[in-house]
Amino acid sequence: MDVYLQAIKLVFDPYVLTVILVSAIYGLFVGCIPGLTATMATALLVPITFFMPPVPAVAAIVTATAMAIFSGDIPGALLRIPGTPASAAYTDEAYAMTLKGQAEVALGAGLWFSAIGGLFGTLVMIFMAPSLAEIALNFSSFEYFWLVLLGLAGAVFIGSASILKASISLLLGLLIASIGLENPGGYPRFTFGINELLSGVNLIPMMVGMFAVSELLRFMVDMKPAVRIANAKLGNVFNGMWLLTIKYKWSLLRGSVLGTIIGIQPGSGADMASWMSYAMSKRFSKEPEKFGTGHVEGIIESGAANNSSLAGAWIPALVFGIPGDSITAIAIGVLYIKGLNPGPMIFVNNPQSVYAIFLVFILANLIMLPLGWATIKAANNVLRVPRNILMPIILVFCIVGAFAINNSMFGVGLILFFGVLAFILEENGFPTAPAILGVVLGTMLEENFITSMIKSDGSPAVFFTRPIAGGLAVATIVILFWPVGAWAVRRLRRRAAQSA
């Protein structure tokens, strides 16, 4: 009980509450502006959280992302442009509702069911994470090796357009992680004689570059004409939400469960959760013919899913130190910097911090209701913020943020390098999310690999003989060879069909 009290004290501190409030407003604003994603919001927050104690730092990230994922729905409904990729699945549906004069129902459903989905994911996390951590305490380097590999395999094989390109992106990330002194031999690798690289590539400037500067470059070359804002009159967005909750309780539950599961699965986050549950909602609906014409059911299900995935993604992040999506990949970086190393030991040494994070999740999803309501009210003005003024200011912010970490110009060089790199890679169909997971997990993968190899005296059999390690190995190998197997089966079938 004492730990819970400590956690409450950690969160209900005027400083932390202010941080939560400010980052909530920030997240709502960023999510609302098309072209600024929740991941970018996180990357831009990191340089500021660098100067905060651990709990408010995590609180800022948790709150801002939850808000951004909801408020991405707003421009989706009003402009037919998703504010964040996580809202893209049901943007057409929400816009169709606006055209029918039901903008307030679309936005209300987005807000109400985002909050419920978020709370659902949080509850799963609260009940699941500590017991998983107890199991994880028995894990040795073998289990961790497979676990990291499983996470990375999931990142590559689930939901990438090209598995080959996603694998390359992942390998590049892992190679970036092997730069510097931090390796089993303590030998400076790939530093090109640059002193700053001895400690490895600093994560914060790298993330600011990959997620913020590259997004800015994309804005600078965006050729789509500026959009005009439909002036929608919005009444009370909470009207009728209770009736919808009762009518679509199964959709809500399905969306929340699926979202949480997709969140837990490393490498896939809110975007995937919302696409998959929109599709699922259509398949299980009693009236699938209404989908696409301005029907609220899909919005309920995937709106709940994308917010519940946020909490789901924190489960493997806290318990194993393996991020569930690119947002938690950034958050893990922050936890390490703050000395709050994720992993099962955090539940033993620092349970109050973990419970504080749980509390922040609950709080964030609760204050989403009034603040989200206010944002919807102000939407017409927020959407009018000119992006040609906003984007250059964000660039200056990126520069200062990257500089602030080490007070060194090298950080600014890094955001330029990784910004251009990520931009070119994405233009050529290489996804960037696997790369960031590779960078975050590279050191951990190598450490556990080398330790295991030394322990096993070079015999690879030990990687499979421990029961949990063996199970994880099988799972990893299944995921790794799934596409190859599927491809072979398809080919054989085609052959059989041709010869028949």
Binding site: S167, L175, N183, Y187, N388, V396, F397, I399, V412, I450
Partner: protein, 154 residues
């Protein structure tokens, strides 16, 4: 700017070979058969495999070697792209001499004007934004942003 898969494959293959060449000289951990070369070595081999697969795929597809995206045909947008890169380089090389306030204001002005913001708006917004960021980072977070040619005001 879209390069053909074959070209990407070639570049990545070269990278993996360079890594394999580089790790030859890495020392072993004393008394162990494994060392700092093992992990990047494995990665480089995997990368080489992927690169070869990419080359094969590119050769089969027979696309043009280099495809310019729509934006690369628009002078205006290429200019936007280059300007973004240029202002970052400008900051790296000029900030220590000119100081944060001057450099950042110049950067904002250049980008605002390029993006079609009117001078009447651009100038006050640039100055205001720079001061705001300065206050947040210099005063509140105590980041030692360079002063450059400006004498220390406070």
């Amino acid at each position: 700017m879209k390069l053909n898969d074959t070209v990407w494959g070639g570049l990545l293959l070269a990278l993996s070979l360079a890594i394999l060449w580089n790790i030859r000289t890495f020392p072993q951990i004393p008394g162990q058969s494994i060392g700092p070369a093992a992990f990047p070595g494995l990665l480089a081999v995997a990368l080489a495999g992927c690169a070869i697969a990419l080359i094969v795929r590119g050769l089969r597809a027979e696309h043009a070697r280099l495809v310019f995206g729509d934006w690369m045909r628009s002078r205006h947008h290429v200019g936007n792209f280059l300007l973004t890169v240029a202002v970052l380089l400008f900051y790296i090389f000029a900030a220590d001499v000119l100081g944060f306030l001057v450099t950042a204001t110049l950067i904002l002005l250049a980008m605002f004007l390029k993006l079609g913001v009117r001078v009447k708006v651009a100038l006050p917004v640039a100055i205001g934004a720079v001061f705001f960021i300065h206050i947040v980072f210099y005063k509140l977070l105590r980041v030692s942003l360079p002063w450059g040619i400006l004498p220390i005001l406070y």
